[in-house]
């Protein structure tokens, strides 16, 4: 490799580059995820810490080992798999057995990313593939939640975290339902204040809505995230649930609850915006966000499950190439309309 500055570089345009390569963007995403992770550890203690570490390590190691096994240079250095791992960890319930965390991480990166050809070729968000696999494989463990702010959370690990591999986890503390489950199965509405502050039970990192929004704004300000996707998702969910709430306030929750409960914030800001699995054009992103938002509302209001953000995003991922096919940018210099 010639030393820079001493040779004449001959290259095609563009010649002015912003310098935002994959690893710089991904490192910024990790920075944006840090406060959320810290807050998750504050809420759920050691359980969240162990889950996050296991999730990140299992994803990074899977990618590294698969690259090595295929005699390819390891792609761990581009930080994208670290982002996948942290996001994956944030979507898991704290106290999920470590062995299940590892199974999901290996599946997500191996099946959801590597088999498709690695970064840039994955049709679906790998973190969500891992989580979806776990949801289908271990439905009980994936819907057992610990209450936040337990008194001994920094000194003891919940018994379920350290379950032996392939064994059924045993939960020593009675678990608390998430706000959405409480609404769906018992008809209890969680106080909006608790929702905003994130002081509810739920996945490790889905509760701190304010911090998630702050992280998203940071990335948008640095032009590293397409603001249209989260904006379209949140707007669609808000408008649709407002309409249904107006029709029948008794059976449909109010729009603020819908926005801040469950994994919507985390999903809209950090998972739907996966650069590979989302559409390329601005209009396409808006359409994609609209689809996710509508699916979330449909699954939450009429589906059998309390939460639908994961499936909504995975389904929309599947649509995203077709959206790109439908909305193609006009090639510069060509006619606006087909000339007669």
């Amino acid at each position: 490799m010639p030393e820079p500055g001493k040779t004449l570089d001959i290259d095609t345009s563009p010649h002015l580059k912003s310098g935002a390569s994959v690893d710089i963007i991904m490192r910024n995403v990790v920075v944006a995820l840090l406060p959320i992770s810290v807050f998750a550890i504050y809420l759920f203690g050691l359980a969240a810490l162990v889950t996050l570490i296991a999730a990140t390590l299992s994803c990074v190691l899977t990618e590294h080992l698969l690259c090595r096994a295929n005699d390819k240079p390891s792609t761990v250095g581009d930080w994208s798999v670290v982002v996948t791992g942290v996001i994956y960890g944030l979507t898991l319930p704290p106290g999920l057995p470590v062995w299940m965390v590892i199974v999901g991480g290996v599946t997500g990166v191996g099946l959801g990313k590597f088999l498709f050809g690695g970064l840039g070729y994955n049709a679906f968000n790998p973190a969500l593939i891992g989580r979806a696999f776990l949801q289908a494989a271990f439905p009980v463990a994936m819907t057992s939640w610990y209450a936040p702010l337990a008194a001994d959370r920094f000194v003891t690990l919940p018994s379920s975290t350290l379950t032996l591999p392939f064994a059924t986890p045993v939960y020593d503390v009675l678990t608390g339902p998430t706000p959405l489950a409480a609404l769906k199965f018992d008809g209890d509405v969680t106080a909006t204040g608790d929702l905003l502050l994130g002081l509810t039970s739920g996945s490790t990192g889905e509760t701190g809505a304010v911090l998630i929004l702050a992280g998203g704004l940071y990335l948008i300000a640095r032009n590293m995230m397409n603001w249209r996707i989260p904006a379209a998702i949140l707007l669609t969910v808000f408008v649709l649930s407002w309409i249904f709430h107006r029709i029948d306030p008794g059976s449909y929750p109010d729009p603020v609850f819908m926005l801040f409960a469950g994994g919507l914030m985390l999903g809209a800001v950090f998972m739907a915006t996966d650069m590979v699995a989302s559409p390329m054009t601005g209009l396409g992103c808006a359409l994609y966000g609209l689809l996710i938002g509508a699916l979330v509302v449909v699954i939450r209001l009429w589906g059998g499950m309390p939460e639908g953000v994961m499936y909504a995003i995975l389904l929309a991922n599947a649509f995203s190439p077709h959206i790109d096919n439908l909305i193609r940018p006009r090639v510069y210099g060509t006619q606006r309309r087909e000339s007669p």
């Binding site: 439905p139 009980v140 199965f185």
Partner: protein, 228 residues
């Protein structure tokens, strides 16, 4: 070959011959096997039904199947379809209960079940899920959870004064909050499946219990007639 230059006339007679010949051969084969297996299949089905009926009517030792005729009265039938009831009799030919099949939508697919109704006690005395595709490990607790199944050993379905409606509709309540004899203690984590069982039982009992009580003598005498 002739086909390449000019299409040959298709061989009509061999076509008829082979299709009809194979058709007849196949028909004979099927009829033979059908005839040979029919009694065995019928016996298998009857045994499976009998097992289920005796499970939901623990005191019964003999079963007579009745059909609802003209939506008013019951008549014993040997085999039939439509609205069937299975009356269970004990060793002394006394009617101990009626097993009713019911079905409805569960979480994943329709659930069909059989429950036993005791006219003497005016309660449901047993329930068995016949087919369900509920999520293994979660929804299928409706078949395996012993605490849940214990609900159906005695479930109140008393009629009110008019004799046409139940005094209290069967309902599923949150696990651990059962306080009345007509409530089913649900399963946490299988809320939808356990509520589905409650709804199926509620709908079916609201229809069948008044009918059975009104025409109880049909079932009782039917048992004596059919006795050897």
């Amino acid at each position: 070959m002739t086909e390449t230059t000019q299409p040959a006339r298709p061989p009509v007679w061999p076509m008829y011959r082979s299709l009809v010949g194979i058709g007849v051969l196949c028909a004979v084969l099927i009829v033979l096997v059908f005839d040979g297996t029919r009694p065995i299949i019928a016996r298998n089905r009857a045994e499976a039904l009998e097992r289920a009926v005796f499970t939901v009517l623990p005191d019964a030792t003999r079963r007579v199947t009745f059909a609802l005729v003209d939506e008013r009265r019951f008549e014993p039938v040997t085999n039939g379809s439509g609205s069937l009831l299975h009356a269970g009799f004990d060793a002394d030919d006394r009617l101990v209960g009626v097993a009713v099949e019911a079905g409805g939508m569960g979480y994943a697919d329709t659930i069909s079940l059989l429950y036993g109704y005791s006219p003497a006690a005016e309660t449901i005395v047993g329930m068995q899920v016949l087919t369900s595709k509920e999520t293994p490990g979660l929804g299928d607790k409706i078949q395996t959870d012993e605490d849940f199944l214990a609900n159906f050993a005695a479930l109140d379905v008393k009629l009110d004064e008019t004799g046409t409606t139940l005094r209290h509709r069967i309902e599923t309540v949150k696990q651990g909050t059962k306080s009345e004899p007509w409530q089913i203690d649900g399963i946490t984590g299988a809320t939808i499946s356990s509520e589905a069982i409650g709804d199926i039982l509620a709908a079916s009992s609201a229809y069948w219990v008044p009918l059975i009580r009104r025409r109880l003598e049909d079932l009782e005498t039917g048992g004596i007639d059919a006795a050897p």
